[in-house]
């Protein structure tokens, strides 16, 4: 049996230990954001921030025949459908906005700049090998090979376009609808959202060069937020959103979000179809890229197994571009 005095000391020590634990040990919340769709990934080392931008409608006209009297030709016409942020895991702790919170927990990000005030530190770590033809990946969700961000296309990697940069003042340019700003953490590539696309190849054509590669339309951002919640701010949201605070469903679980770019492609492409929406990213580059030098992506369908049936969901995917 412990002497009473020693027991009191032990209790006090345990109490202090508890206090110490609560007051000193920093709390953190794991945050995961799946980024799915045709976004412009814009690293900004000076701001230690990776921006994920979404575009407005693009209607690009160029004088393709060099004849002064003829009208310019439309070389890129991409209507934008919208961008959404969905709460996939987490509990809403607070919401502020001029409109009620969407019941679906899907936020229309039209014109919104999305920031996380508790995020700091360095530019997100990104593992991106220089672009090169990469063999197609076989289906398999656990395949870690998609982690390399080389599977996100980059126009400026292609011969003749390596001197292209993002246009100055892109954040306020009319071509840009909004963005999400990320600091700290890591960004990795992820399995494509469609198993057919996962098994397909994509032919990149730039000038006279043609290369078959794999691409993905998804990345994942992971970070530890130094707080017991995830604070999200919306600036200039056309929907009137101001602030959203999320907590994990249970201690230790991650708050998970999905940033999703909607696309207007009517049906799955057939073999040889061009993924036409990709041309939009050229409009953000300077010096301007002539349409004849655009990097164009063509879908190469995978071989089909012999049977199957049913009524599928429509749609296909749009890959982003790394700037």
């Amino acid at each position: 049996m412990l002497p009473v005095r020693l027991t009191l000391v032990a209790v006090a020590a345990i109490g202090l230990g508890g206090y110490y634990t609560d007051s000193i040990q920093p709390q953190s919340t794991r945050l995961e954001i799946e980024i799915n769709g045709g976004f412009a990934y814009i690293p900004s080392p000076n701001e230690r921030t990776l921006f994920v931008a979404y575009l407005n409608d693009v209607l690009e006209k160029q004088d393709t025949d060099n004849l002064p009297g003829t009208p310019d030709e439309v070389v890129c016409d991409v209507p934008q459908v919208g961008t959404e942020l969905m709460v996939v895991r987490g509990v809403v702790d607070a919401y502020q906005g001029s409109q009620p919170m969407p019941e679906s927990r899907i936020f229309n990000l039209d014109e919104a700049k999305v920031t996380f005030p508790r995020l700091g530190g360095a530019h997100p770590a990104t593992n991106r090998s220089p672009w090169k033809p990469v063999p197609p990946k076989t289906a398999g969700h656990s395949d870690p090979a998609w982690k390399n961000l080389q599977y996100v296309p980059r126009i400026a990697d292609h011969p003749g376009l390596t001197n292209r940069k993002i246009i100055n003042g892109w954040k306020t340019d009319t071509k840009v609808n909004g963005f999400m700003a990320l600091r700290g953490g890591t960004l990795e590539g992820m399995t494509p959202s469609d198993p057919v696309a996962e098994m397909a190849q994509f032919e990149f054509k730039s000038g006279t060069l043609s290369t078959l590669v794999s691409t993905t339309d998804r990345t994942i951002y992971r970070v530890n937020v130094p707080d017991d919640n995830v604070d999200i701010r919306f600036t200039d949201s056309a929907q009137g959103y101001k602030r959203l605070v999320l907590k994990p469903n249970a201690p230790g679980e991650a708050v998970r979000l999905r940033l999703r770019g909607l696309h207007a492609m009517n049906t799955p492409p057939k073999d040889g179809d061009e993924l036409r929406d990709f041309c939009a990213f050229h409009s953000l580059l300077t010096p301007r890229v002539d349409a004849k030098d655009y990097v164009r992506i063509f879908y190469k369908a995978p071989p089909r197994p012999p049977s199957g049936a049913g009524m599928p969901s429509p749609g296909f995917y749009c890959s982003g571009d790394w700037f």
């Binding site: 996939v88 679906s104 289906a139 198993p195 089909r304 199957g308 049936a309 599928p312 969901s313």
Partner: protein, 467 residues
Amino acid sequence: MNRRTLSQIARAITLAMLAVVALSASPPKPIHPGGTNAPVRIAIIADHYTVEQEFDYDVENFVKYGVLADAFYKQYGANSMNITSYYDATPAGQDSRFGFEIGAGDGVCAVKAPDDVLSKLMAATAAATVLPTHYVVIGNHPYNIGCTKGQWSYIAVDAVGTDVFQHELGHLVGLLFDEWKLPSNGGASHPGLISDQFNCAPKQGVTTPTGTAGPPYWMNYPAKFPGAQALDGCDLYAYGVVHAFDHCRMGAVNHRNFCLVCQEAMKKGFGYVASTPPPITPSLMASHAPTSPSGFRIVNAAFVTSAPAVQETTNPPRPVMRVLVEFDPANSEAGRRLGAKQRIFATSVYVPNHRRAGEYLYEISDNNGVRDVGIIPDAMLKSRSFQGGPHTTGPAGPVQLFLDLPNEDAKSANLANRNLKVIVYRIPRTVTDPIITKSVWAELQKNPNHKFEKVTEMLLPPAEPPK
């Protein structure tokens, strides 16, 4: 036997019990009660999960924040849908406990189901307290895909937050067609619709078995369908068929609402325009208390929930015998075209499909005459088998489907000499009735202009059919 031995035995028993608990499926979870007699009863089934909590979160996303947050489903479906989830872990190393194959599929669906998938889904929901009418499998694979065939849908988990679930329910509940065109069908014309009462109709001027097609039916109801048109393309074909609106969630572009024509079909699917089920005839039944047939489990339909439920008195729960059959209308031997595989008994809402959604009608009869009729939706048989050319309609091979027999419990079904049977007829295209009930069927048979082909007949023996 000493104390240590007893202790070891107790420990072994405890471990064995834990192992049994760990290996057995979790009990069904009521997700959304709807009305107690909801005509649409959806079983959401886990596949490729190892953590039940993750499945529960995903179900919440698909149901609470998905379909029930949708304005249309909230208004018209909330009271008509009963949703229950079923969890069981998938063993390590398997992509699917039901045999679904995820991959390139056939150019139509990116998922392929085994032939006996309904039998497997039936087993997975054997603990059901509500007899499901539709099965939705959530596959824990990181893709955004969905596919529907007959009475089941497969939806990969990353389709959450999209319109895929709502779109697939359009197929399941409303028997709606896709309104988009599969590029691979190229310039081929649609091979012909069985029914044009839904969201696809033959293009005006197209020759059909009943004559030259006129304007689609929705053009005749401008007050009901204002702004409806005859737009080219439907059911994955660009030619020979039309749809009504260019903004609809059954189309391809991101429109998260049903058009007016699809809304009407969905309301019918939800029972807002329902045909009257036959009255309960207790005299036939030996007992209202179902009795377990050997080798198969009884399910009772008493849906227990703390949430308030809407009572629907027009179609109260009743004894129902559900028979899993294999239907092979192309089989050269008529006697082999329909065969019973399994059967279960339940006290549940009976919702026959009287909508003319296919070319096969089944008649349930016994010594007392015709008990009821139902239509086998064409969607259950339609093959989308696709290998470079246009896909075709019509049965490509045996398919499994459920036939529900009302007012039958284990004792009544086991009575000998009742001559309880199912007869399948092919409905000629001279029949244009959109709804075929028992009384309509009786009138149709008297009409000499209609030639009904008897496809097959199956006697339901008073015993458990072979599995």
